[in-house]
Amino acid sequence: MTQRNNMVQLILSLVSGILFALGLIVSQMVNPAKVLNFLDIAGTWDPTLAFVMGGALLVTIPAFRLILKRPHPLFAKRFYLPTKQDIDVRLVTGATLFGVGWGLAGLCPGPAITALATGLLPVVGFVAAMVAGAFAHKLIFEQRT
């Protein structure tokens, strides 16, 4: 049972990853020019990305509601949901720093990783710096007990 679930989980993750990437490409969210033109309301505004987010939420809001009524997921013992509820300084500071980085380059984590497939060196650099940033956070804030 567990062995079979592990196998199913691996396949499911791979399929989800591929589908996510294809969604990013179809919507062109993977293209920094497209993202920056969405963010640039005062200039060459392209509202497309609002439709990407809208499309995703159209699926997740009703589906998540139904799924979370289940006692457990199909192939795992329990749901792994974020437990934090508080809106604190870390949340707002972190979101702000992320927003500045996103607004500078036009890349957020998913599109950056999918764009690695193009082999463009600055994208590789971006992802390496991104991992370094996550690692720096781990060193500073995630003390092992």
Binding site: S16, L19, V26, T48, F64
Partner: protein
Amino acid sequence: MTEFTPVSGLIGGLMIGLSSVLMLLGMGRIAGISGIYSGLLTPAKGDLGWRIMFMGGLILGGVTWPLLTGSPFPVDLQVSWPIMLFAGFLVGFGTRLGSGCTSGHGVCGIGRLAPRSMIATLTFMTAAGMTTFVMRHLLGG
């Protein structure tokens, strides 16, 4: 200048939503990219496989697209090397400090109607918009 493409935007969004649903329904996991890859930095037993497979899928999707369609997908980079690296670091650090990115907070968190994610999304959208404004209209980048 990019063309307004609401239909392909909507279709792509539906695919991203469906992917997130698969993750939650099948494995009980949130399809938050920053959370999934950063979990690889702290290898926990039995928790690596699915993360690697999802990340592999993200890249594999990008690799298979040109094979499926016969044309590459555009990735028009807008900024210089130093800015790319600085931005990457901010994205990596900020998404961990703020516990999520566009997918984790924006798609999945709002999908669960979590107030924390709504605040986070509003915050990073605003910060990103202001950054673009400063770069393009004040500094003329």
